[in-house]
Amino acid sequence: MTLAIKARLKRSDFELDVDIELPLNGVTSLFGRSGCGKTTLLRIMAGLEKVRDAEVRFGNQIWQHGRHFVPLHQRQIGIVFQEHSLLPHLSVRGNLLYGYKRTPESLRRLHLGEVTDMLGITGLLDRPTDRLSGGQRQRVSVGRALLASPQLLLLDEPLSALDTQNKREIMPFLSRLTAESGVPIVMVTHSPDEVERLADRVVFMEDGRITSHESLQKTLTRPDSPLFADEGAVCVLEGSVQPGPNDGLTRFGNEHIQFLIQTGLAPQGKPMRLRIHSNDVAIARYPVEEVSVMNQLPVTIEQIVAFRPGRVLVAGKLRDGQTLTAEITEHSCRKLGLENGQHVHALIKSVALLE
């Protein structure tokens, strides 16, 4: 099952030319600067932008082809917009149930209680929408979209209008949503942070064109990945919080690898992501003892590529098959004689558990 879009659009100040096929599972992120066409692409998927001669196919449903055009209200798509999309004349409950009521009973997969529990909005049900914070509003609009039991969920920069505080508040709900809803998600964003937290694959866009389409893991080993433009190279590891002694540290990983993290209480067993800045990773030929660094893991070098001037990005495979990257100087790389296939030890100075 894939979502296939082929569209060409020419306007005086903007040109779009895309031809892409996306797998219908997990989270696909459309990433690029503002004005690159990512929102237009999303609107073509939704049928909000009717571009002539565009073709849109969802699995075996033809949404647009020639003169055939399925309007949005028949596509069963949930959309979460940037901001202010709650219907102001309805209460929170009225908003949540607007799509639910219009979904045939046999197609309903989620019900009010489950969704409000998952999003933590049970206490807000009877509030008017203008008495909600930005984060609460976005949670309600996520819930509203879910309650219409969509077969595809489109998120159009759902966090961009929120301040840091509100973002922090809604992020855990979004990661839960992406992990638990089972609905394929396409998310427009220009924030590397959101991609690293939520996406499984990334479509990079520039000037109305798709420059590449790859898995998150793949793009994180590419030194020229657009995700690294502002904050440098990072890697993202998946795992969950593991049981361990009560020593104030959290254990994260799986049966093969384990990180020690100093963090607040995190729920055990739930799949989560860990972000490591490649800058914070050092490489040693042999295990280092008597060092303050808490996390030291064996890796097998898979790739060494030039990164910034005088520096290289070393990608190594961890014991569980995930990839860790270290940004080190060319000088050190030569001195240690690093090469592909070599078994070395990665010293990780700091990690961040993404909630």
């Binding site: 939704a46 909000l48 309007p71 949005l72 209200h73 069963q76 798509i77 949930g78 959309i79 917009f81 202010h84 999309s85 219907l87 102001p88 004349h89 607007y98 799509g99 219009r102 979904t103 509203r144 979209a145 219409a148």
Partner: protein, 228 residues
């Protein structure tokens, strides 16, 4: 003061009937036009907007004259009706109703277009994504969120139709019970030097017009919709 003659009552009845039907028809026609006008910037929209606004600047006699030609026995529409064995529309209630609809069009379209413009497209897009079809969206989203615009459009249309004179005189003449509306009757009264009757009806219209505008402006303040 309020001793109205049967002819006065008849004129009031014709006037109210004309105002009521004009308002009803215009709300139905103006809604899609206003929606279309407010949903883009194309040259076609500017042209339609200008055409809709024409009655604001044209002398009513010009509109009335053309209507007489088109709807009359030798006109495109009147002639066609005659060839089907029907009556042409000059000097009939239906004729002045059509003219009223055109003449009051800007007073219905502009407040609605303004209200739809202020509403934006987001609420409608949201409703579509939640499975609401066209009529459903109109009733459950557009109407409740732009009701101020509808109230203003209806009131202004009604009041403006009440004040019609030139178009009706040109197209409808002054046929009692058919085309003789209040404004025409006042003219007839004044022509016949019947100043007392003219005065009664004029004062009535004056008070009604003030009251209507008062309501409209307090509504526009409350709903933040178009001002005319």
């Amino acid at each position: 003061m309020l001793e109205l003659s049967p002819a006065d009552w008849q004129a009031i009845e014709v006037t109210l009937r004309l105002c009521f039907y004009t308002t009803l028809i215009l709300l139905i026609i103006a809604t899609p036009i206003a929606w279309w006008l407010s949903s883009g910037q194309s040259a076609a929209r500017v042209a339609v907007q200008a055409i809709v606004a024409l009655p604001l600047v044209l002398p009513p006699t010009v509109l009335g004259f053309y209507m007489l030609i088109v709807l009359g026995p030798r006109g495109v529409i009147g002639g066609t009706l005659e060839s089907f064995g029907l009556h042409h529309l000059a000097f009939t209630f239906e004729g002045i109703l059509i003219a009223s609809v055109l003449y009051s069009m800007p007073f219905a379209v502009q407040p609605l277009a303004e209200a739809f413009g202020n509403l934006g497209r987001r609420p409608v897009e949201v409703a579509s994504s939640l499975g609401a079809g066209l009529i459903d969206r109109f009733i459950t989203v557009i109407l409740p969120l732009t009701k101020g615009g509808f109230v203003v459009a209806a009131t202004l249309t009604f009041a403006h139709t009440l004040g019609e004179f030139g178009v009706i005189l040109m197209l409808g003449g002054s046929i009692p019970g058919e085309t003789r509306v209040l404004s025409v009757l006042i003219y007839d009264h004044a022509e016949a030097m019947n100043y007392e009757s003219a005065h009664r009806l004029s004062l009535m219209l004056l008070i009604f017009a003030f009251f209507t505008l008062f309501v409209v402006y307090s509504l526009t303040r409350r709903f933040k919709v178009a001002k005319i």
